[in-house]
Symmetry: C2
Subunit: 142 residues, 2 copies
């Protein structure tokens, strides 16, 4: 699974005369291991466990690269920093406005209706985001 993505990245690098480096390998494979959404700073901390000298900018640029070749999506929940998520793991999000917990959901019926809405506007969908904000079950009790 991760292997095929690393492979995909390598092909992209080759095709564009870009180089494979140990930083990119490390950052990408760490990112692919991450299931959840990750912010640049978090991923930086993570990769620094193996390579303490890696810079913020390299992580940043590698994520942009992954985004470019379609292996990552960049999201902007609420305010503040970007979060990156693995492409292919598409899902929508429920975000708790109290504790910040992010729960994922997927509903094919919603996806279908979405397609229909697009058709009716003659709009060609490339991607979408659907986020629900509210209180998660744990926070409702308090």
């Amino acid at each position: 699974m991760n292997e095929s993505r690393i492979q995909q990245l390598r092909e992209y690098l080759n095709q564009n005369g870009m180089k494979q480096t140990k930083q990119r390998d490390l950052i990408a494979s760490t990112f692919f291991k991450t299931k959840k959404h990750v912010r640049i700073e978090e991923l930086l901390q993570e990769v620094r466990k193996s390579e303490p000298n890696i810079g913020y900018v390299t992580v940043y640029r590698t994520l942009l690269l992954l985004k470019e070749c379609g292996l990552a999506h960049q999201r902007h929940f609420g305010e503040g920093q970007s979060l990156f998520e693995n492409a292919g793991e598409h899902h929508d999000h429920m975000i708790c406005i109290k504790c910040g917990a992010i729960t994922e959901f997927e509903d094919d019926r919603i996806e279908d209706l979405q397609e229909k809405v697009c058709e009716s506007f003659n709009f060609k969908m490339v991607s979408h985001r659907h986020e629900i904000y509210g209180a998660c079950s744990r926070c409702q009790k308090e």
Copy 2:
């Protein structure tokens, strides 16, 4: 319509020992006249037509105030600045990734399914955003 919102704002101000000022009145009423999404800078330009000395910060703080009392929503499409939109004019958005045009849509069936998803997760929805990115009909032709 706008009147009742201004009224609502005034009540909120009173209840919280805050003051009614000509800047707030102007900013709020200009905001309520704006149907579409507005960024701070745009609203600033608009109100400066009547009151050239109004500062960015005042517009900013007034928008936060409106958000606080539920009269505005703050959104973060893509990257960059925030956009504020009138509460009550709920709709979802289709954003053209070429020309940036924002089209609004609403689909009750989607809203219903959304409610159901929340129920199944025991999640209490407060608000949501649903955005579709792609090419608008005009840009598809090019």
